[in-house]
Point group: D2
Chain length 272, copies 4
């Protein structure tokens, strides 16, 4: 397998960028997903340490209570509907949306993402880092960022858009007023037929904008997930890629297969 | 960046093996980590569907209650102690083991794993698939499997050991009596100075064996995590790799950064 | 307030019967409410014990994850519907059944129950203790038990029916095959216009019986909750009352006001 | 049983005061017990409504995630320690404080409370309702309130102290700055050898006061629970009793028997 050996050698030699924000109680949470996240250590090492009976070994472990849309995460296609239809025209019936979760488009149906990644760093275009609060990233901004980066967004790519808000992860108030992608920007992204999109804010969309045509809030969610079948990754940390001016990279994102769930926490990486 | 372009091209052209088991209530759970896992859809599409006010968009979401050692997961170094010391001799004091989790060796300190992966398929060596219940995989088995696969386990590799029990994921009783790696086998693995180990059973170790020297149960946990600093991945699905006789591959595993936690669910992949 | 003084004196002098089963992981759980119950101590005394800074005091506390229909509990009227209508003909619309729970007939709308209690001890009538597995308690059994106890069931009473299964609380298999009240028995109870009913089994109803007329499983749930507005208390421990041959008592049951919930764990008491 | 008949008649004729605050996400939570409380309806009526197969009946149910010290609740004696000893000198060893909770003084060991209740309405004494923020109720205040109410606090009583903050249940900021009982006040209460104490604030104690002698915060917790064996009930709603000038009543409080837990949500009632 010569190809595999090359792949291993190049990947292992590459620099790995960790695009996940740390998860802890107190991190920013979207109001619809509160209380969001909590971890509790419940078994301590001393609990099971009985050397005369079991030798020197002891274990500790904890439990997680969390909404799947907390921290850095990816949305499953079942997360959004358009007039009560999921992507592909699947009607939201009781057979589709069940007490155990979705029987269609649950996150477990999403393959691991191994794709070319491109970073469109809007801060560079707008010369503000982070972008102004609630700034709406236009299609022209996205095109300008691609030109500046000398990349072309191709079908199948992972398209990451940077607002610069990742550094405000410890400031929920400001983070929730982040810049986001506008209605036109989401249409532009969808028309590129990308594998997925991602952003370093809570919602991809700028939350106060409405689609003038349909009246929809979070239009990108509607258009990308429910109409175009393109998953959205939120709360990325794109600071390292930006700092090193990495614009093109191997992007890997592996959603956990929570059967029936509408999303998954993820730790995407970029290798370059 | 010619290296990156090559990396992207090779990786995207590669075949991706998904090494994660599906997660659902009823999957096998180690007795120490019950109730283990449950997902509940709590927001339904109809809950927020008010087209005259908000347009055609609606969202659904759920919540997860889970122990971090459920499903396919990786153990943080803080998960195990030897005479109340973590890897590196860190004493388990109240400053280290706190109400918010571990301040040393929490899972958030583990880098994404991008490594050469090797599969030691013990079923091929022993000519039984799955291996007999509670079979203890010896160092000789591991060496025989490496010879058969024509691979050498090198420092930094991800070493995956196959028992064949992944196919019993829907049969908790049998799955919990799986074959596992013996005391000698764990010593062999640790001496290879690998980046991590993984197995297609609940505990890596064969659970009824005790280290004759120290009296420890789950000796591999003690030796690999607490003494050697080598994380363990459990509940892998190695059936696809075995079927395609893939013995060497790019291995990627990205633990979620739950601050202070003793492990993380993961969806490791192999690319070949 | 002479009445109050008398009340206090008599009540404090009375014998208090605790009708609640202990709650712990591993107690019997109805399959529809699994995993049911778990308690985790997460803050330990040593975590906050810093005498030089805070003096001698330290605190410990934990967390509960539970379905509201676990252990000894009372069903809210919102728990059951008949042809998608709650008690009083309230249609189950998205305004009634919301993401935050029920806006009508949630458990918080139920007043504390302070009522005359009567125990109908069917084991005495049938001369078997516990009753045979899956025995269906008839209206004639209930009437015979009332005669034997020399009590008349009156409107407003708390009507408790004893199968003798409380002593099998540690044996989930047998407990889930308990005797229960038949279709006819539930009709009899409802016709007495009691304040509430209760039983020492998981479901009041015998779970394999179906109403021949409507085809409904758990007919008592349908008839008592959705049609008659009479709450059901499940998993009572009636052994003490039976042992002391107490047939009439002051019954007190105080559902917790979980806003919107379909039931509440309770610790009912009898004072006699 | 003539006594029982009288008891029933008087109790049923009495007025029942509900002393519990409603429970919902967003209610005030002590910082040490966040996120505190959340309820999620996960089974909806429509999920199981299949009339042709199961008749007209359907059920709905939810799940609770909560800390035991949220909402109106009672503290178990295991909740507090003095120099790592629980009430009665029980040392906090790993055998006492375990992964399943406390094996001594868990809330399941607390009997139902059926006692004479007395209300000391400090707002009446101080002529401010609610009391000023962070006001520390003195022993003299408690004695003055008893005189005003013409009651004597006796051993075995349930002693309820009113600050007037219950009406601020919807205003977490102000509620967390409530008046509370001073060090001297807690000593006075303990010296009365009461069955339990309760208050209409988050912590009984005024949270900024320290015991000058030991340096302890929340001195009442230390003194009442760990040293005197007297449980504390928090977040009571005493507005109804105050409005009706009820000073003496039958008090009933039934902690749920969560085995090993350090407290329980309760719905205490007063009957007068």
């Amino acid at each position: 397998m010569p190809g595999t050996s090359d792949l291993i050698r190049t990947a292992v030699a590459g620099r790995v960028y960790d695009l996940e924000q740390p998860r802890m109680a107190g991190m920013p949470i979207h109001p619809a997903h509160r209380p969001g996240y909590t971890y509790h250590l419940h078994r301590r090492h001393r609990d099971g340490y009985l050397p005369e009976k079991f030798g020197p070994r002891s274990g500790a472990s904890g439990l997680l209570f969390m909404m799947e849309h907390t921290g850095t995460h990816i949305d499953a296609l079942s997360h959004q509907a358009s007039d009560l239809r999921l992507y592909g025209g699947v009607e939201v019936t009781p057979q589709v949306e069940t007490v155990k979760g979705f029987t269609v488009h649950g996150i477990e149906t999403m393959s691991p993402i191994v794709a070319r990644g491109v970073l469109l760093d809007i801060c560079g275009v707008r010369k503000q880092d982070p972008l102004p609060e609630r700034y709406r990233i236009t299609a022209a901004d996205l095109e300008a960022a691609a030109r500046l980066a000398e990349v072309t967004v191709e079908p199948g790519d992972a398209l990451l858009v940077r607002t610069g808000y990742a550094k405000l992860w410890n400031d929920e108030d400001r983070y929730l007023r982040a810049a986001g992608v506008s209605v036109e920007g989401s249409k532009w992204a969808a028309s590129r037929r990308v594998r997925c999109v991602g952003c370093d804010n809570m919602t991809w969309d700028e939350t106060e904008e409405r689609d003038p045509e349909s009246g929809a809030t979070l239009f990108g969610h509607l258009h990308l997930l429910a109409r175009s079948g393109i998953p959205i990754i939120e709360n990325l940390d794109l600071e390292g890629l930006s700092r090193d001016r990495v614009r093109e990279f191997l992007f890997i994102c592996t959603p956990l297969k929570f059967v029936g769930a509408t999303g998954s926490p993820v730790r995407p990486i970029a290798v370059a």
